[in-house]
Symmetry: C2
Amino acid sequence: MMTLCPLAPQVLYAKDTPRDPENSQWVDPFIGTGGDGHTFPGAVTPFGMVQLSPDTANLYRGKDPQPEIYKHSAGYHYDDSTIIGFSHTHFSGTGHSDLGDLLIMPMIGEAHITAGTAEHPETGYRSRFDHDRETASPGYYAVDLLDYGIHAELTATDRASMHRYSFSRGEEAHVMLDLTTSMYNFDNKVIWSDVRILDKQTLLIHRSTNGWANNRPMYFAVRFSRPFTDIDLHNLDNKRYRCNGCLDKKNNRPSTINNPDEPYAAGKAIKILAHFTEPTREPLLIKVGQSAVSYANAMENLDTEIDHWDFDRVRAETKKKWDTQLSVINMKGTDSQKRQVYTALYHALQAPHIYQDVNGEYLGLNGTIQKATDHTNYTLFSLWDTYRALHPLLTYVAPDRVPDMIQSMLLHYQQSYNNMLPIWSFQAHETWTMIGYHAVSVISDAYLKGIRGFDIDLAKQAILDTANHPSYDAIPAYKKYGYVPMDKLAESVSITLEYAYDDWTIARLFEELGDDETAQEFYGRATSYKNLFDPRVKFMRGKDSQGKWNPDFDPEEAKLMGPFTEGSSFQYSFYVPHDIAGLIDLMGGDTPFIERLDTLFTKELDHEKIKEHEDIAGLIGQYAHGNEPSHHIAYLYNYAGQPWRTQARIRQIMDTLSSDKPDGLAGNDDVGQMSAWYIFSSMGFYPVAPGDLSYAIGAPQVPEISLTLQNGKHFGVTASNLSETHKYIASATLNGAPLNRSYITHQDIMAGGQLHFEMSDKPNKAWATQQDQRPPSLSVNR
Amino acid sequence: MMTLCPLAPQVLYAKDTPRDPENSQWVDPFIGTGGDGHTFPGAVTPFGMVQLSPDTANLYRGKDPQPEIYKHSAGYHYDDSTIIGFSHTHFSGTGHSDLGDLLIMPMIGEAHITAGTAEHPETGYRSRFDHDRETASPGYYAVDLLDYGIHAELTATDRASMHRYSFSRGEEAHVMLDLTTSMYNFDNKVIWSDVRILDKQTLLIHRSTNGWANNRPMYFAVRFSRPFTDIDLHNLDNKRYRCNGCLDKKNNRPSTINNPDEPYAAGKAIKILAHFTEPTREPLLIKVGQSAVSYANAMENLDTEIDHWDFDRVRAETKKKWDTQLSVINMKGTDSQKRQVYTALYHALQAPHIYQDVNGEYLGLNGTIQKATDHTNYTLFSLWDTYRALHPLLTYVAPDRVPDMIQSMLLHYQQSYNNMLPIWSFQAHETWTMIGYHAVSVISDAYLKGIRGFDIDLAKQAILDTANHPSYDAIPAYKKYGYVPMDKLAESVSITLEYAYDDWTIARLFEELGDDETAQEFYGRATSYKNLFDPRVKFMRGKDSQGKWNPDFDPEEAKLMGPFTEGSSFQYSFYVPHDIAGLIDLMGGDTPFIERLDTLFTKELDHEKIKEHEDIAGLIGQYAHGNEPSHHIAYLYNYAGQPWRTQARIRQIMDTLSSDKPDGLAGNDDVGQMSAWYIFSSMGFYPVAPGDLSYAIGAPQVPEISLTLQNGKHFGVTASNLSETHKYIASATLNGAPLNRSYITHQDIMAGGQLHFEMSDKPNKAWATQQDQRPPSLSVNR
């Protein structure tokens, strides 16, 4: 029988194909704004410093985090029906949160100082809204504020943004600039804030907050398109703090202390209310520049990036940026698939954020102002999440930015008083959130892929200093015992397993660099996972410094301060991404390993055992797609020679845990990691162990998809007979030649060409089952 | 009869006279630490950035300022018997206050976290002390901490300091570094603070406070002479804020949020307790560098200025700096007189403070980091006080620093969002304290004296922008009405009178610069004082915008929010320093004027009428020597032709309101203004109207005193037959020629030479009584 040729890639990439195919049309920024996705719908550029987006809650944290606080990590939640205003900084997809700087809200009628309640929005400046009168696309967000008859639109550049408020009624408009609101808000979160009125169209604003990052400053320059008629500076703490500019009567004060005529207010609870006459005459525009360095830089950022008042021009230019950035992937598929893939790509292209002013200055980790001379500085490294798939994806979809992202991490190390690469850092602050030292994985993966343009000597030093740190977590104990003893540190098993993986990436890098001695040392450390595998129970299990196994062991339990991080032994026992073959050996071979995998996906989880973990979400049995420790697990059947089971699981996850609806993400997007999983998995492969340059093949989910590579080549994946039932791979070819292995390599991708799958409704249990056809487990000194 | 020749100046300045006559031996830093002097006894260099001094109170302000708070404006009060520690920044002589950054206190025995009470010092780290076991001299302070048997010594350089603690007993020593204490302390004064342990001998510390200046940062680098054995980072707010480094058990925390092993703490109530073994083995030294810019600059300042551990060397070098700086005045007199004159000079040479790091960086008024390229930047301009006599004095005793002080004020203007010269500013903050725009007086006086080295074009612009400011106080109304209407602004009479004087200095400057048009405009404004002189009551009196005099007028009353600033009409009616002749005319001629002066000095003040003013102190009748509006008044008899009455009043003030005891100052030293009055008055003359380059002669108070001038010349004053009773001038000569006028000029001084007085116990009522022998009142377009 004649082999059917796959669709040639040139069908998708004929010379007359427009360079920018306007893929932004498929992005739906509302995906992930419901459920626990924690994305935001507002205006942003690729990797932009500004995230201008509506906030729908103004919650104060009480003694403990509340579910509503967690739910509003991105400021906006699709369930809500009122908007309190538009703030300029947001995380995309995080579980913990911060930001929400400078909330702006227009209104007519009574000039409110407080937001009011969701139940009674008329008690404050908050307004009702309706999703039918709300729209969002890359770089643009618009909503009708129903209580006020205001059509509010937002757009952004990298470091600046623009609001356009069109009023349908009212004699006078008011614009609230509230410096007290925030994400994960609580009393006294605002350390200090101030506002200075330069003239009737120009304000300078600063605030520093103590949240996830402590003492984090942000400066804003605000320009109104026309002069306000009056402005009130409310200093709600004025019982306690000096109040400039907020006293009505000039002679009602001792002039020996205050000069109330100074248009300035400073304190911990500042609200600014500007008033404008004849709001219906023409839309009111507000331009905002921001900087972490100074008022002057905020102004320079604004005036450099938006030196005009043409809202539509900013919107169009930012859309064009997105179209260009989104053109790295082209695909065919259902509208829903396009919406999901391009929205995932949109979410994957938002962070790390640019963290540098147009003049090159940025705030360094050591608290001093740095000047970038030959790189763009980035911040927001959610590395426990993003080392897995996001950073590997960025080497294809944003390769020009990867060297600078790595250089930014190396400068973080240089500026760090701890001599540490970032763990979970943003805006010049290390939060120490989560575990491991996964920056080493990101650096190693990029270098091994041939990416240069960062200081590799500095990288070597940074990696070794980090991985041998004398006081970070329990590295000395890990080196001494070969594992982190559970009596030394909580989460000891997860930490050991993740160190072992990280160490393997270090070994790979130093081997590539010709330093065999270091490579061997870290290949040795990479086997540490074995020390916590209890052969009697065949699970990863806590062990103390005396060598005694955790007596209080339940593989399904995930408890705070236990031996696992946001997970159970059931999940974490699969966390040996760099040596699945070794893990299979420990578990007794292919059959027990596959049984264990099947049990994971089928045995119902006892929610009582994970009740402290809001992050463990998106469940299939005890597989938790909503959290990162599970992300590689569905691909592991390949390693035991049963790739058809992986193929079925990927489809199961896709069908049950993803959609193009606001609640379409099964858990936190985690700064693009969930989205990166979705993109790789849609293409049909996934980086189980970043740094080994191989990708385990799952199953293609769309009929055609192609990556445009930096070297000018294209790597396409096509699937014939793909359907709801035809989810199995019957056969595969790479550039026309049969492919009988359940993985592809980075080299395969970079060479360009076409990976084609014939799909079937029956599993092909003969394909890629042999040992040498399985994804490789590279040397770990076994 | 042969005229007795005065002592020739060369007697005092023979070539073999040592250049540095060790005048520091006469300085008693305790003068002013009792009563309301508000000076501090600690270690400081001339104009140094560091003021390392003991604090004896840790008072929290309640709802309102308490007397004890006011009393402790300089941290230390001589009445007290316990010390809470040694902090690194202090004002000298202010009435309001701030600073008190980084309190350090050594102890043995129980390691206390809180200071404890003065009544029961054993309840905290506070210790008893005794003035018999306490000593201070320029650049050095030492005290025995009696509760601990610790001999504590302090010394300082410009930007760094050193502590030496000698322990007489104890197994273990503890050193508290308390980031919560402050002057004018109150709840939540600390906006943010943090500490980072670099190694067992090195800390980096920052705190920002909201006090007189809001959001004022200071960075410290701290080095111990030997490693601590342990260190505790106490975060007293840890119920609310993240607590790094303060949890005992490593596994008692979720590692997903904190890394408790990081030797770092940040929050609003941080206390650091370092522990040292074998304290008696050798003294423990602590070096501290400080900077307003960054940790790195604090470290660089420290390591540049004190690159060794030799305490005695620092002390000796700073003493030598003082001896050099104090050698500009040489004198004969009683020990008490020498103590008072040299201590006054010591206090006059402390501010403005250097506010610039060794690398030239400093914090600008606009909140950005500036780099000084060709000047030394200064801060602390208490101008309402110091324009009167301190700045005029500095043109003689520290002339090399005057151009940079003026340049610093001009850069303040450049960095000011208000386009204003400083009013009452310190550490990159304008406090708007007090009234007028007296920077113009300081600039004009210096320029008219021939001082150059600052940007005169910038000065002209700054002066005109300030004096025509559209919103500072009530300048537009002042220009419109010719006075500040009392219905527009409180303190309207004082403000009008001080503007009129300031305007006259502007006229003088622009006349000198050849801009006659501007000069005439401001000569015109300088007559504004006449508009508030009520000819019926013959007092300065509030007037509203309708031209109606204040119906609620009592010339002896000084009330908050009334028409006068820390004073009454009785005092302020003499405030026309630039046109005393015009004032005499208004009052009806010499006789009523002198009667009014005598009444001021003799009519007892009704304390009920000034009870809201703690600043009105040092009373002779209603003359208040303790506050600035009175400082020129005793010299005014000269202008009405009765200089012998001035001579008697000066002696009266000297004898009753000054001594060489801790309570020897009659009121706040006010950053050297009171001291400058004392120095001028001791020499026998005073600048009634800075900018006219004349000095009203009072009466010499010491037998010999001489100024060494920058041009290499000496100007000496000698007094024959001076005694307790011989307080009147019988006759005077200038360089041997009879002097028959009751004033000398700047030119007389700068020419060098000798002013000699023959003193008598009888007034010479014929000397300097004629109109042309009185001090001049220069043109004000009368």
